[in-house]
């Protein structure tokens, strides 16, 4: 399942998101929203925030999935934002050229001065990364914090995307996925980082690290405490059954 970044020759800046560590706190989503109340994409819409039908533009949204059935089911928190693909359809469908991928670093951006808000790019994206901001009339998306990563006014340690800097679990990593020697590329190789929906052919740059394999559980299903339904072969004492299970882990 290991997907290595394509050798395009140039830098491909992107994120690596560790699904094994993400705790679903949404801090990255909130910080992204806060950072973008000023700067490149500002302001992001928040319609009726306390009303009956709130609607707003967010670049980063956190889902929670359950994968597997029954006792084997795992809860996986899943941050989803623009994957800054190598072959993004959102760039090629744009009729005005407002949607573009930077050659220097591979970041996919929207030029809000030429965007006409036709929404075709959002139709073209399999990852739901682009949203229409109806108050500005243009499309908006994750900018990989271009207003932070190159910002000489910020201390060097803060020149990472807002979501990466704020993650309390260190589940988000930022770097050059076009450079096989970079830290993020090594992380992807070690952990088997993968593309989302590769069959769409967008060649996403962002990679997701899968949840680590769980050790196989040998413990039986929890027994009911009533002696009338005790498991055959059990000790007859719920306490001792519990001791047995705990020591078997």
């Amino acid at each position: 399942m290991t997907s290595l970044p394509q050798q395009t020759g140039g830098p491909q800046l992107g994120l690596v998101i560790d699904l094994d560590i993400c705790v679903g706190c949404h801090a990255c989503a909130v910080n992204c929203k806060e950072w973008n109340t000023s700067g490149h994409s500002a302001p992001l819409t928040d319609d009726e925030p306390y009303g009956a039908d709130p609607l707003g533009v967010w670049f980063n949204r956190i889902h929670t999935y359950e994968a597997g059935d029954g006792a084997d089911g795992q809860t996986v928190h899943f941050p989803r934002s623009c994957l800054h693909c190598e072959e993004p359809a959102c760039v090629t469908v744009c009729p005005t050229g407002a949607s573009y991928k930077r050659e220097a670093d591979g970041i996919v951006l929207v030029n809000a001065d030429s965007c006409i808000g036709c929404k075709l790019c959002s139709w073209a994206c399999p990852y739901g990364a682009r949203e229409y901001d109806h108050s500005d009339g243009v499309m908006k998306k994750c900018t990989l914090c271009i207003d932070r990563i190159e910002n000489q006014n910020l201390p060097e340690i803060e020149r990472v995307p807002a979501c990466v800097s704020t993650c309390p679990a260190s589940a988000r990593h930022f770097g050059d996925l076009g450079d096989p020697a970079s830290e993020v590329s090594q992380l992807v190789r070690e952990r088997g980082g993968y593309d989302l929906m590769p069959e769409m052919g967008m060649k996403p740059v962002n990679k997701y690290l899968p949840p680590r394999a769980r050790p196989e559980s040998h413990a039986p299903s929890p027994t009911p405490t009533s002696t009338a339904t005790r498991e055959p072969g059990g000790t007859g004492s719920p306490f001792l059954d519990w001791v047995d299970r705990t020591l078997s882990r």
Partner: protein, 315 residues
């Protein structure tokens, strides 16, 4: 996909207008009609009026309509850009064609050539419109090979219905043209039924498992959405229509847009006077409603890959 009424109006209206231009080019090329003032003015007014209304309506729902001219710049990569350019280019031969028909009362020589170019460019423009949708890999039902032919076929069907009606009212209408429109309509619906058969039996292209990459753990279900309300993506791409409604609406569209117009235009070839006008109008009304419903279903039945993150199982 949320069926946006402006897009449905745009594609059906401009499609009908371009279809009319194709039929006018055929009428001129075969010298079937002696160019009359009334029929010429009416036909070109309706055709160019529908095309212009459709194009303008598509700019009005933009976030920045004043920048719409920028949409012509990316023809190297964008079908939307190509469609805009083709639409504008088509006006040139179409206006010359109209000039010949209406002012010079001539369909010979350069005017016939203008007509032929108009017909070809009209088809090119409609094909570009279809390709805007057919090129979106994320909506597998739209990438079927029949999508662009269906757009072209309904452009001819709806354009033909309008031409027959104009000629029925303002004259003269040769029977075989009514029958040709009936045939074009029948073929359009055969193609559409084939499309529906194909999408109903198509294998899934992507799944929630491939979208999240968590399939190796088992079946993937969304436990918690990112928020309790809706968002732009869910509203735009998340429209769901129940299968039982789809089945019923498809039958209604086939009846209104297919069965009724085919019968009406067949009959139109045998009658004259007021009965002809009634038959033509019935055929036109059926076609209009049928094509609008067909286009609405095209959007409503579309399933977008981004919804795999929001609970959809396959796409």
């Amino acid at each position: 996909m949320h069926p946006a009424y402006s897009v449905i109006f745009f594609t059906t209206a401009s499609g009908a207008g371009y279809g009319m231009l194709v039929w006018l080019a055929l009428l001129a090329a075969t010298s079937a009609v002696s160019p009359g003032l009334a029929s010429g003015i009416a036909a070109f007014a309706v055709a160019l009026g529908l095309i212009t209304a459709g194009l303008l309506s598509s700019t009005f729902h933009l976030g920045h309509p004043e920048r719409a001219w920028r949409a012509l710049s990316q023809w190297r990569s964008s079908w939307l850009s190509r469609e805009g350019i083709a639409a504008i280019i088509t006006y040139a031969p179409a206006l010359l064609f109209a000039l010949g028909w209406i002012v010079f009362a001539s369909l010979d020589g350069p005017w016939r050539i203008a007509g032929l170019i108009t017909g070809v460019m009209a088809l090119v423009t409609v094909a570009c419109t279809g390709m805007i949708y057919a090129s979106l890999r994320v909506i597998p039902r739209w990438t079927d090979a029949t999508v662009v032919p269906v757009y072209l076929a309904f452009s001819l069907s709806s354009g033909g219905a309008l031409i027959v009606t104009v000629l029925a009212i303002l004259g003269p209408l040769d029977s075989q043209w009514a029958w040709l429109v009936a045939l074009a309509t029948a073929l359009a619906w055969v193609l559409k039924l084939f499309y529906w058969h194909r999408i109903d039996n198509a294998a899934p292209v992507a799944t929630a498992e491939s979208a999240t990459g968590l399939g190796h753990l088992g079946t993937v279900r969304q436990l918690e959405a990112p928020h309790s309300g809706e968002n732009y993506i869910m509203r735009e791409m998340g429209f769901q229509i129940a299968r039982k409604h789809v089945a019923r609406l498809r039958k209604v569209a086939l009846l209104l847009g297919g069965v009724i117009p085919v019968l009406a235009f067949l009959i139109a070839g045998f009658v004259g006077g007021p009965v002809l006008v009634i038959a033509a109008l019935v055929g036109l009304a059926g076609t209009a409603m049928g094509v609008l419903l067909e286009r609405w279903l095209f959007f409503a039945e579309a399933q977008h890959a981004a919804m795999l993150f929001y609970g959809a199982k396959t796409v």
